[in-house]
Symmetry: C2
Subunit: 218 residues, 2 copies
């Protein structure tokens, strides 16, 4: 099956499987069945097998999955078996929070540059990184071979900064501005809509749904 025929929720579930497997590994589990993996996340074993089958044959008869192997395979599929250099545009509160977020580097995303359009901020340091002018984006992208950007600028600036990023050669944008971005077909945008998350929470509260945090809902 070609990758572009894989349903998106299955790709989200890969992320959840990966997290759960890493948790098993921390607990010194070396092998795992699809039933055990599914149970830990609230999915059926058939669902687990079907999701993984999109990407290859990972199980071993009578053994199940080897935890270490499957972690490596899933990382490879998700593209996180390598280090990604990531730039950030927007040195406001959200940008600072993103810089401080420890989860990124653990997943192989390394923040290597930060930019702001505000001349008053340029030159200041946040942690190890000095804030640079957005005028330097193209130079830095080439120099550090960056393909991924996080966009944490106000709504009004988002499209024009996105245009700069695309012009500089960025191929993936994690967008925190609550606005739809127009980008060329070879650029991927993943939007983080925080209000949508609250909306989903309010829906689930109105159901009175049981939801331990260990059971992701996709």
């Amino acid at each position: 099956m070609r990758n572009d025929e894989i349903p998106n929720p299955a790709v989200y579930r890969l992320s959840f499987y990966l997290r759960q497997l890493e948790s098993f590994r921390r607990g010194d589990r070396h092998t795992i069945s699809s039933k055990q993996l599914g149970e830990a996340l609230g999915y059926s074993d058939a669902q687990v097998r079907k999701d993984l089958a999109y990407f290859g044959q990972f199980g071993h008869p009578g053994i199940g999955y080897r935890v270490d192997d499957l972690i490596q395979q899933l990382k490879k599929i998700l593209g996180t078996d390598k280090i990604w250099n990531v730039l950030l545009v927007g040195a406001g509160n959200l940008g600072r929070a993103l810089l401080a977020y420890k989860g990124f580097v653990r997943k192989g995303f390394r923040m290597v540059a930060i930019f702001d359009t505000d001349a008053n901020k340029v030159g200041r340091k946040i942690g190890e990184l000095q804030i640079r002018s957005d005028q330097d984006i193209a130079t830095v992208v080439t120099e550090l071979q960056i393909r991924v950007a996080m966009l944490a600028v106000p709504v009004e600036a988002a499209q024009s900064v996105a245009d700069q990023l695309v012009g500089a050669g960025i191929k993936g944008i994690l967008n925190f501005a609550p606005v739809a971005l127009n980008v060329p077909a070879d650029v991927v945008v993943q939007s983080v809509d925080l209000a949508l998350q609250l909306e989903q929470l309010s829906f689930r509260m109105s159901l009175g749904e049981t939801s331990q945090d260990g059971a992701p809902s996709l």
Copy 2:
């Protein structure tokens, strides 16, 4: 059909339909077909009809959907037809970014209180709100009838603050700490895992996927 039998991706799509309908309304569209709504988001008309059919009969033969009506119905389903009072724990960079985020109030989520465990921060103001001690959580939750909390504290503090929130009567937590929370069955946790978003982005980049931002992927 009972609400708890509705697939989660369908509920996410409701949020996307709602956003698209609001966009149509701003463009002075009064009626819309399932085909037009689907096309704007990259879904088939069959998908749109199936998703909406989980929740009721909204279309009118020969007319399609009335934009205003469907917006009201979707808000009611999602629980955002009313104002929710929301509290925030954690007055760090992320907390400040969340307070400044304009998307919440537009969706009916009103930040009414902010707490921090750091005595040095207590008493300071952020915008209109004064930071209060986490010791006051129970009192304020009762006083302001708050049921929803955002958790923007460090990983180490997340579970103990979650316990405080649950003890105070909070029924829904939007969790930004990259850690699984244990809560009772009647409390809903929605976790925002920012690294997972980057992971999905890197997967989609490896596909070279076409993705204008207007076409959500669930």
